[in-house]
Amino acid sequence: MTCREWQELLADLASGDLDAVQTRRCRAHLRRCGACGRDWADYQRVRRLARQLSEEPLPDALALRLQALILQAQVAF
C-alpha cells in the first residue's frame, strides 16, 4: 500500500473501525514511516484540540432577551 492509501485509513483508525489485522498493519506503517507518523500525530492533535474548545457564554443582551421570551412563552402555554 502507498502512504496515500494508508492516510485514507486514518479516520477509521481513529474511530476504531478497522479490524485487528488492518489496525496492526496501519500502526506498523505509521511507526516505520516518519512522514505518515508525523501526519498521524498532527491528525490526532486536531481531534484533541477540537475537543478542548470551550463554549462562548451567551452575550448578556441575548441572555436577557431569551429569559424574557421564555417567561412569556410559559405564560402563553
Binding site: 486514518l10 484540540l49 477540537a50 475537543r51 474548545l53 421564555i70
Partner: protein, 191 residues
Amino acid sequence: VVLVAAPPVAPALTPERVFREHASRIYNLARRMLSNEADVEDVTQEVLLQVVRKLDTFRGEAELTTWLHRVTVNACLVHRRKQAPQLARQISAPVEEVAEQGHAVAAPACAPAPDHQAQCRETRRLIEHAINRLPEMYRDTFVLADIEGLANAEVGAALGISLPAVKSRLHRARLLLRDALAPHFAEGNLE
C-alpha cells in the same frame, strides 16, 4: 431484608433548566455553523422557544439533547439557504485557500504568549479561525463529530447524509485543519 435504593430521580425539565443548561450549547453550535451573529441569535431563540413549547413531550435528558442537536442543525441549514449566494461563496473558501491562509493569516500573531491564559486564547483563536475557513460541508461534519461529540450515525441523521459520506467529510475536514494548522504545530504553538 434487602433494601434496594430507589433509582435517583432526575430533576424535572423546566424551561429555566433548559435555558441554564442548554442555551449556551445551542448558541455555540449555531455560532460554528453560521457566520452572521444575527442569524446565530435568531436560531438560538427559535430553538429555545420550540423546546419550551414541546417540553412535556420529552421523555428525558438524552432525548432532549439529541433533539436539540437535530433542530439546531436544521434551523442553521434553513438560515443558510436564505442567505444570498454571494455570501455562501464567501463562507465556503476554496479548499486550497484554507491551508494557505492557515499560515499566512494566523502565523504573525502566534508569538510566544506572556502567560498560559494568553497562550490558550491564542490557541483557541487559531483553531476557531481554521474551522471557520473550512467549506461548509466539511465544517458541519467536523463541528458535530469532533466538537459536539456526536457519533457518526447521529451526524449523518442530523445532516441527512450517509455514514460513508460522514466519514469521508470528517476525514477531509481533519486533513484540511491539519494542513492549515501544520505551521503552528511545527512551531510548537499548539500543544
